[in-house]
Amino acid sequence: MYLIANATSSFIEIEDLNVSLQPKQAVDLHALGLKDRAEKSVHLKNAKKNGWIKVLRHDKPSKKITKITEKTIEKQSALDPEEILKGIRGIIKEEVKNINQNQQLPEDLVAVLTKIIQANQGNISVSDLTKDDLDFGDGVDLNKLAEIHTKVAEKVMKDTSSSVQYSEESIKDDSMKENLSELEGLL
């Protein structure tokens, strides 16, 4: 059993476990099938540290399993990101060649792909839980919230541009016309 409780008077969501708790609500994470994930959850760890979540009972997993996990982590951390990058640089050309078999290898594209790898080197991790990540049921009117988020979106999108292509299809759906006239009478 891994019984935790929301120690706050607000709604809390433990993002990386997909678990939401109403104020003072308790839940058994093992009963939800989250035995392994609960042990690894960064968000749960932070929520406990900040006092938002109280642990009522925690039956630890067996030592045997812990050992295996530690070994796996050791093995993973032994990988040198620089080495990975070096290896990847070598295979990028091959991979791009496979994609563009009939084209000459675009050298500049290799540079872009390298940048993708660089950007992702330290990125494959779960983000820490911040206050922003918590859903607080604060009773603000939904229309006001939407207005706030319109302003947030305007700020976020201030300097952006894009090039997006969509797969497009045209569908002839005779039933929609009938549905519409029927629904207009109903709604």
């Binding site: 709604f11 997909n18 952006t160 894009s162 090039s163 969509y166």
Partner: protein, 360 residues
């Protein structure tokens, strides 16, 4: 000012879709994968040229670039485990662990929909119904998503995903006096991140719920049980899964069959509890209409019927009907609602209170 528009948008966990009807009555649907990968920050001026020359899809934010849509998936497949495919959405709601979600989703919305041509144009979007399994909450998601469309001056109508399926698939109920009530029954959308369920009567939602057991949950569980990478599970699910012909010697297919069954049972167990509150109003057998990418394997409706026929449910089942166009059913339902709402809006004058028309 241009001609008023009415559009439907489904910001799914896996795909972003926009639908609009053209003058000839055909429905045009734009689809792209709702995912991206990040490029390292650079002062290099020619990155944009390179992306354009190679026809890669991207979003630019200052001097940062993000490869988006199908191209992001291509990059992630080239470097499995080394490039992180990031998603604006997770489990059917905005991904709280992703700080670039608004940026990417905002650009997808702007590039597919554009700015509203006038103050009578409507976009209908769908959100998940309230969660009944302690997973994600959609209040925050609804407000944020609405904000992204209002920024482009659209009137936003929000409906629940299961209702979109009802509006698109037209379930019916036979009343005691023998008359048929259209758009009455249970609409189910089996997506990647969530399963949504709505009971509707004559096009209006009576009750709705959602659970986090959906396509991604099945893939993850089958992967864990069979020691098979998730990508291979997905591939097998899409190419070989046929519920009318299960190969029990194939451990992945066997597990997929078992977890699909468990998902259906979980959904209907929760729905049965919700239904108890309105049971007295629904004595007649109900149509169940099914859509969403996770419902696409052959024989899914038969499987669903087999599972629920063994359950003790507080309602009778009239028929289980699969959508002819499961991938597009939700966005088509949103389009249907937007056309109705836009017609209502067109009859209003500038100072009218629109909240009654746009509210749920």
């Amino acid at each position: 000012m241009g001609k008023s528009r009415a559009c439907g948008v489904d910001t799914g966990t896996m795909f972003f879709q926009m639908a609009e009807q053209d003058v000839g009555g055909e429905i045009n649907i734009k689809t792209t994968r709702n995912a991206f990968v990040e490029l390292a920050e650079s002062e290099d001026d020619d990155i944009e040229d390179v992306l354009k020359r190679n026809k890669w899809q991207y979003v630019q934010d200052g001097n940062k670039y993000y490869v988006i849509g199908e191209d992001s998936l291509r990059v992630a497949k080239m470097f499995p485990g080394k490039v992180e495919l990031r998603r604006p959405m997770q489990d059917g709601v905005l991904n709280k662990g992703e700080d670039k979600k608004l940026l990417v989703l905002g650009e997808l919305i702007e590039s597919s929909l554009g700015v509203s041509p006038d103050n009578k144009s409507v976009v209908c979007i769908c959100i998940s119904s309230d969660s009944v399994d302690g997973s994600a909450d959609s209040t925050f998601h609804k407000a944020r998503l609405t904000g992204l469309f209002q920024r482009l001056k659209w009137n936003v109508k929000v409906i629940e995903e299961g209702l979109a399926v009802v509006l698109s698939e037209r379930p019916t109920m036979i009343e005691d006096d023998g008359t048929e009530s259209p758009f009455s029954g249970i609409g189910l959308s089996f997506g990647a991140g969530r399963t949504n369920c709505v009971l509707a009567y004559k096009g209006l939602k009576v009750l709705g719920m959602s659970v986090s057991r959906a396509g991604d949950w099945i893939d993850q569980k089958v992967s864990e049980q069979t020691d098979t990478p998730v990508s291979q599970v997905i591939s097998k699910k899409e190419k070989s899964l046929d519920f009318e012909n299960i190969d029990y010697d194939d451990d992945v297919i066997f597990a997929l069959d078992a977890y699909y069954g468990a998902m259906i049972e979980f959904v209907f167990n929760h729905f049965a509890k919700k239904f108890a509150a309105v049971k007295s109003q629904f004595d007649a057998p109900l149509d169940i209409v099914v859509a969403g990418g996770t419902s696409m394997p052959k024989g899914f409706c038969k499987k669903l019927e087999e599972v629920i026929r063994t359950m003790e449910l507080p309602f009778k089942i009239k028929a289980v009907k699969g959508s002819k166009d499961p991938r597009n059913s939700v966005v088509k339902g949103c389009l249907t609602q937007s056309l109705i709402t836009q017609k209502k809006l067109s009859k209003t004058v500038d100072n009218d209170d629109l909240s009654e028309i746009l509210g749920e």
